[in-house]
Structure formats: structure tokens, C-alpha cells
């Protein structure tokens, strides 16, 4: 058990060095994708804002979902963590909008477009996640992990803050039985969340 932290350290070091090497070669690929990402994110933001004004009767039901604080300070040094979080956020938001109990206060066309847009976001982010964070890479690593005895496996506790936030949104929708007001509130909340990540995407220009 005592060798675990050592192994973790060694693995992290190796990952870091490999990541540096890969980052050099990946950056050319990702410059283009970052441009696409910014554009798609902006389009999604506009989509989420494009609707009739927020109905007044829904103001009563408004709830604070408590967006996790760390995303409000997007000057975080670890751009990699933000990218991961952005990827997860895109998938979670996509999941919410894919629930087919969505009654259209919002046109069918917009719903489809936002699903397209969020899917694109997730796709572009996934491509540029660095070594070890990309979905394909993780699948391969997990396969390698499985072969090891269970003591040697490196634990990867996931960051649950973002999940808790989306869980609150999901529970709210279920509680309110997917009413129109609930959907309006959720739409505004997700727009708010996406806006913070959009600021991050704009920062990627400087990369």
C-alpha cells in the first residue's frame, strides 16, 4: 500500500513529460479546433438566449442552483482541468436537453440545433483533451488497468462538484414534473453556465 503514492507520483511525472511532448504536436491540430469551438459555443449561447422573454409567472419558482464556485474564477492555472470540466459540462447539458419530455415553449427547431451544437462542442473538446484525458486514450488505459491486480490500479476519483450541480438541475426538473416554467428556468441556468465556459474558450485563443 505504501508503494501506491510512489507509483502515482511516477505515473504523474511520466504523464506530465509525455503530455508536454504531445502538447507541442497537438497544438497545431487544436488551434483550428479552438477556433471552431469558440464559434460553436457562441452560437449555442445565442440559441439559448433566443426566445421570448422569460415569462413573469415563472419568476416565483426560481431556484438558486449554485454553480460551483471554481468555475466562476476562470483564471485557473490548470487549463487542462477546465477543458475536462467543459467537456463534461457539454455532455451533461446535452443529456438534459435530450430528455424527451421537453415540451416546446421553445421551438422544436431550436431544440435540435442546441443538441447539434452541444454535441459539436463535446466532440471538439474531446479531440483536444491532452494525453490521458481523451476518451479514446482513457478507454485504452482502462483496458491496461484491468490487467493489473486490483492493488496496483491507480484510483481516479472523479470531480463530483459539477455532477452535483447538474443533479440539482435534474432533480428540479423532475420535481416540477417538467413544467414549462421549470424548463425556462433550466434553460436560463444552462445559458449562465455555458457563458462562464465560453469565457474560458475565448482564453484559449492565447494558447
Amino acid at each position: 500500500m505504501s508503494t501506491k503514492p510512489d507509483m502515482i507520483q511516477k505515473c504523474l511525472w511520466l504523464e506530465f513529460l509525455v503530455g508536454l511532448f504531445i502538447a507541442g504536436t497537438l497544438s497545431l491540430d487544436c488551434n483550428l479546433l479552438n477556433v471552431h469551438l469558440r464559434r460553436v459555443t457562441w452560437r449555442n449561447l445565442r440559441l439559448l438566449s433566443m426566445s421570448n422573454s422569460f415569462p413573469i409567472e415563472c419568476l416565483r419558482e426560481n431556484v438558486a442552483f449554485e454553480l460551483p464556485q471554481e468555475f466562476l474564477q476562470y483564471t485557473q492555472p490548470m487549463k487542462r482541468d477546465m477543458r475536462k470540466a467543459f467537456h463534461e459540462m457539454s455532455l451533461q447539458a446535452f443529456n438534459i436537453f435530450s430528455q424527451h419530455t421537453f415540451k416546446s415553449t421553445w421551438k422544436e427547431k431550436h431544440l435540435k440545433q442546441i443538441q447539434i451544437g452541444l454535441d459539436q462542442q463535446a466532440e471538439y473538446l474531446n479531440q483536444c483533451l491532452e494525453e490521458g484525458e481523451n476518451e479514446n486514450e482513457i478507454m485504452k488505459e482502462m483496458k491496461v488497468d484491468e490487467m493489473k491486480p486490483s492493488e496496483a490500479r491507480v484510483p481516479h476519483p472523479s470531480n463530483l462538484e459539477l455532477r452535483r450541480y447538474f443533479n440539482r438541475i435534474d432533480n428540479f426538473l423532475k420535481e416540477k414534473k417538467y413544467s414549462d416554467c421549470a424548463w425556462e428556468i433550466v434553460r436560463v441556468e444552462i445559458r449562465r453556465c455555458l457563458y462562464y465556459f465560453y469565457k474560458f474558450a475565448a482564453l484559449l485563443r492565447s494558447k
Binding site: L32, I116, Q120, E135, I138, K143, R163
Partner: protein, 557 residues
Amino acid sequence: MVALLGAMTLVLVAVAPWVLPVAAGGKNLKSYQKVEVDIIDDNFILQWNRSDESLRSVTFSFDYQKSGTDNWIKLPGCQNITSTKCNFSSVKLNVYEEIKLRIRAEKENTSSWYEVDPFTPYNKAQIGPPEVHLEAEDKAIMINISPPGTKNSVMWALDGSGFRYSLVIWKNSSSGEEEIENIYSIHKIYKLLPETTYCLKVKAALPMAWKVGIYGPVYCIKTTVENKLPPPENIQVSVQNESYVLKWDYAYANVTFQVQWLHAFLKRNPVNHSYKWKQMPNCENVKTTQCVFPQNIFPKGIYFLRVQASDGNNTSFWSEEIKFDTEIQAFLLPPVLKVRSTSDSLHIYIGAPEQSGSKPVNQDYPLTYEIIFWENTSNAERKIFKEKTDFIVPNLKPLTVYCVKARAHTMDEKWNKSSAFGDVVFVKTKPGNASNIWLIAGIGTVSITILAVIYVVKVLLRCINYVFFPSLKPSSNIDEYFSEQPLKNLLLSTSEEQIEKCFIIENISTIATVEETNQTDEDHKKYSSQNCQDSGNYSNEDESESKTSEELQQDFV
């Protein structure tokens, strides 16, 4: 003393009932050490060991406590159990919050609690086997995987779009497995043999949460007889003049084709009734192996396309699906050229093309430009690559017409896309003679300016000399009357200002007398100086007057 003893016994009596069962419970504590919690999808499986087998009359109960609260809640389905195993499904638990469990062993009205280490259910959860539905074609198998857990799963409520699957497929008749990883719920395996039985097993994974599930049961299916018409192959999309061109290969003639498209996002979270391929309107029953459709046929996004052949009686199976991103594959419009010519070079400016509607995005992209130019009369083309948008092509012939065209390439290795060539620009280089004339004229103007500058400098120097270093020749009149030396002395001493004035005045008045006696030189000097002083005294009044006027002025100031 007695009171003390009494108090002590009282205390002992009070404490005893607490102490004794603890001592007794100590044995019970040891009787179950490890409580293992396994979570598969929504099922919590609790297992523990009972080290002391003789204690068969012990019953176990479980309570749970949510983090942040103090009360223990009874766990339904795990109360008063005699065996060492218990199942419950996630009650109204928040799977992302930590919970604590405690287990109690009851024996003849004595019980004690043992707390299990707190854990977060989501982190401990494992992914169960997914459900698989298969459909066979002649050389392909279509797989439809349902996500693990039930439809209203609490554990995977937020992960619906995050599941990825891996499968292992093998031929029933032979050994040799093939593993396919990281696929979506709906997947098609191509390049199989017809009329063969294939078996496969599937497991689910959540890459972003670093979870891998366990393999499900093995499913087998037999591929059908080979179809008369093979499906089209080698499908590619390219862009031409504001529309997309879809091309494919087909071995046989006299067939018509049709094209279908699908939103790519439906593969992430397919729900059967919305996972529908749609017909491409411009491409129904086309006879050629290509089809052109306008750019505005669907909104920007990622799509899948597939093609099918038909000869009237039979239809082929669908071709392999290609992924197509309208953003990445179709964004490059040809650049706009502006060319200026000199006699032996062309100055080229590359501008962004005008895009209708959306923001001009091209300046964001890292692009390389390929410029091809040739003389109008010959066919020999010269190609250069530049990343700047403003540059000069040198070493050209004068008075010739050159044709220039350019296109843009992305600097990406992965998406090696290029725009079409822009319009050809015709430009004629300026005549060489003309340039010679310009050269001569230039030289001429330069030399004239140099001469002018020299002249001006000369004049300036003269002025300077005149002002600061004046020539010491006196006027001719004075020359007649004076020997040089004393006059020189007198004149040289004019450097002192006030005294200078005095001297001149005095000397002029005594001009006639100086010549006669040299001796009187000193005298006359003195005289002059004295006079200067006198005149100084004289002018004291004036000075004082001027002083007072000065003072007055100062007062006013």
C-alpha cells in the same frame, strides 16, 4: 468517607450497565469485521463475514446516515437479517453525496453498532452489463445497445450521453477474436463474411468517470446470404462553389442511388423513435455516382451520410456511413487577390473572401496560401507557398502579362483541407525603359537636392562665421589715421561691454592728440578710464532714474 464510598458505588452502578454490554458487545464486534459494499447499477449489495459461527441467533440490521445530518435512517430491506448478505436499491439517495452505514448485530436484546467507512455511492458504483439487440445483413451486423441500468436509473441519470461500449466478436466456428472499442450505442460492423455465425459480448464504460463495466452475456447471430447488389463504396464529400459534392464508387452500371443523412448527435443518446435517417432531397434516384446538394440543406453541424444502390428489382444494403462536419470540411472559401505590378515584380495582397451572413472567420484560422502564376503566353506555372497575406514576387520580366491564382490550405495535418482556386487575376508588368527613365530622373533630383543642400550649408557657415568669428579688418578711413598696434589694442579691448563703449567715445574725442606723444598712451587710457568712471558717475542719475523706473516696473509686476 462513607459518603464518598456511597457516591462511588452509585457511580459504578450507573456506569455498569454501559460498560458490561460493551464488554459483551466486544465479542460481537469481532464477530463481523469486514462489511463489503458492492454497487452495480442501482443495486447495493452488502456482504459481511461472521467469524464466530456459533452465534447463529444473531440478526443484523442496517441504518444509513446522509452526510451533514445526524439522524440514522433504517435501511429498508436490510432489517433483522440472519444471513450475511443484503440487497437494496438506491432509495431516494443522492448518489453524489457521501453516506455512512452502520450495522448492528442483535442477540438476546443486546446490540451494538459498527460503523462502516463512509463512501460516495457514485464513486463506488460499477457498471452492469448492457442489453444488446442485433440485426444481420450479408456482410455486416448492426448492433443496438441499451445503456446499463433501468430506464429510470438513479445512478446513471446524468450519464445517458456519456456511455461508450467495447465489444469482442468472434466467429463461432473458429477461434480468433476481434475487439472493437469506444463505440456508440448504435454501431455497424462491416467486412464480415456472409452466411457465417458470429458471436459477441459487450461491456459498457464511462470514460470520463474512469469506470469500466463487466461483460454482458454472449449473443450470436448469423449473417444472411450475399446480396446481389453490393453497397456503394469509398464515399467522399467535397466542396465546390457553395455546394457539397458527394462521390462514391460503384462497380455496376444501370443502377440508381439514393442518399440518406442523420444528425450525428443521435448516436450519443439514441432513443428509437428519433433515430431516423432522412432522405436527401437532391439525391433521390440519381444515376451517376455523385450527387450535388446545396450548402443550406441542413444547418451547420455534424452529420452522417450513407448511400444505397438499386436496379429496380433489388436494392443493396446501405454503404458505410461517413462522418461529415460542415464547419470543418466546408469552410474554406477561395481567397481574394489584389495585385500591383512594377517592372520586375508583383506586389500581391491576399484578402479574406466575403462571406454572406456569418462573421468573417477566416482571419482566425491559421492558413497557408498557395499562389500559382504563369506568363500568359506560356504554360510554365510557378508555385509558391506563403503564410503572409502581403508579399512581393520578384525577378519577373517587364512588359509581360502574368496570370495569378491562389487558394488557401489549412495548416493542419489532420484536416488537410483546401479551398478551391480563386478567380485568376491578369496583370501586366511595367516597362523596363520607363523604369530607366525614372532612375535617371531620380538620380537627377537627388543630385540637385544635394547641391541645394551644400549651398544652403555654405550660406549658413558664412553667417555663422560672420556672427561669431568676424574678420578683423577695420574700415579704410580709420586705417589712414591709425598705426595698427594701438588701434588693435583699443579695438580688441572692446570685448568688455560697458567699458568698450566708454573707450570708443573717449578715444574718438582724443584722436588728434594721441598721435603726438606715445607717452601719453597710458595717460589717455587712464583718462579714458577715469572718464569712464566719471561718465559712470554722470550716468548714475540716469541709472538711478532707470533703476527707479525698474523698481516701479517691478512694483507693477
